[in-house]
Amino acid sequence: MLKLEGLSKTYKTGDAALSDVTLTIPKGQIVGLIGPSGAGKSTLIRCINRLVEPSAGKVLLGDVDLARLGKTELRRQRRRIGMIFQEYALVERLTVMENVLSGRLGYVPFWRSFLRRYPGRDVQQAFRLLDRVGLMHQADKRADALSGGQRQRVGIARALAQEPELLLVDEPTASLDPKTSRQIMRLLTEICAERDLPAIVNIHDVPLAQQFMQRIIGLRAGEVVFDGTPRELTENVLTTIYGAEDWDAMRRGDEEQSAAEADARDRMAALAQ
């Protein structure tokens, strides 16, 4: 379980990116974090594993306060938090397998990681994860040889290799096409359900968030302005989060997109016959 208490972040420039965020995320819950650009979504999830140092507040994972750990202890605790990134953030010139195994870096001594001699158990688990995300036969390829969707699945496998207790997901679909986005979101939600893993997902595609999230938190100018189920996310609420805009038009656009996808599928099926 993750608990944020009064979490705040003020950057050196004086911009308050987060002010007094208090949240509790129980086991197995997938939370979508929505909000306009600059609302502090990225800062919020980066404050949890301290890629960004919070200015005030507590980050309680279980009963450890991550916000006041020393360097070594922080490294140890980061193993418990898997992170998935917007532009995949794979190490492009390493192989798929090395990328997945890099999820074990916090567990192995330097010489093992340097010589790529991971314990048998880690290697076996890496293969199992690659199989789970459907990339069993790509293990020896270099990461930059994969497509966007495949890369993001490697990113997921890397995060899971940490055997995390929490997943932080930063705009997982921002550089993917609509169909691949849905596949990735489905894979993420399935995996979280399988492992009873809580996840915080930054996402700016509102319809996608409504489709896949169990709970949605709206952030505006560093403050939580909405916290509820996708069903409660009405037009009024969206206006509070994002400011005025014609949300129905956006939803219609989304319907058009799925209609076009369905159409394309039908045509492919017709060609196959």
Partner: protein
């Protein structure tokens, strides 16, 4: 749509000095300086004609290179130069990698950053010949001084370019590795090394090439190698042997250049 007449000509507005009067004054000033400076160069035409004659003899020697009569000296100089080149590049690279990492702002703490940047600055500020003169005075004539000179120069060159390259890595990849709980060494090994390795190898090969050329130059001030042989040949007015040495240097530089550019392409 408006019915306004739009102009048919457009000129790029001046970007740096916007005032027309200042621009003209500046141009006149530069012209005046150029004329005065050229006027102050003293040319002794009699000396030039003597020099041209000597140059002609030099070119004749160049056209009839004599590889054989001094071959013993030439081959000894060549072996010395090549040994100096290879050893100094290897040693220089080995030393410049840790210094380069230390001089990268995104990896090193501030104090280490300044220490490493100062080492680089010193190495880059001193030209090879100056270091060579100094080291020859310290360790005597011969290739050892040359080896030290080239190693020292390699550190400044390679460590600076490596550090700049490390500072420009894709931070997202480093962030992802850091988020797994990796240690600093693991971060360098997994996030930095894969990103800078091709360039590091390319730069090392390029430096190998530079070091060979420099070994010919520093030989003239006594640091051994083919440069020393060339210097001796010119001092003895043996322009045919000097021509042979120059041809060999050109040949080896070309081979090294093509070889290293081929290897670099292969590595990409």
């Amino acid at each position: 749509m408006s019915t306004q007449e739009y102009p048919t000509t457009w000129r790029r507005p001046p970007q740096i000095v916007t005032d027309r009067r200042w621009r003209i004054a500046l141009q006149l000033g530069i012209l005046a300086y150029l004329v005065l400076a050229l006027g102050s160069v003293e040319v002794d035409w009699q000396r030039v004609s003597v020099g041209l004659e000597r140059g002609q003899r030099f070119i004749m020697g160049f056209l009839q290179p004599d590889f054989t009569s001094r071959w013993g000296d030439i081959s000894r100089g060549l072996v010395e130069s090549l040994t100096m080149t290879l050893t100094s590049t290897v040693v220089g690279v080995l030393i410049s990698v840790p210094i380069g990492i230390g001089a990268a702002r995104n990896l090193a703490p501030a104090w280490l950053y300044y220490v490493c940047r100062s080492i680089i600055a010193v190495s880059r500020a001193l030209q090879e010949i100056i270091i060579a003169i100094f080291l020859v005075a310290m360790f005597g004539f011969g290739p050892f001084a040359g080896f030290l000179t080239l190693s020292f120069a390699t550190i400044g060159f390679l460590a600076k370019l490596l550090a700049d390259d490390i500072e420009e890595i894709d931070e997202a990849q480093a962030e992802a590795i850091r988020a797994t709980g990796a240690s600093w060494w693991q971060l360098v090994n997994y996030a930095v090394q894969p990103q800078v390795m091709p360039r590091l190898i390319g730069l090392s090969l390029y430096r190998l090439d530079i070091n060979f050329r420099e070994s010919a130059v520093i030989g003239i001030v006594g640091a051994g190698g083919i440069g020393a042989t060339l210097n001796t040949a010119i001092d003895r007015y043996e322009y045919d042997s000097a021509g042979a040495i120059l041809l060999i240097i050109i040949g080896i530089v070309m081979i090294a250049e093509y070889g290293s550019s081929y290897l670099r392409k292969f590595l990409q």
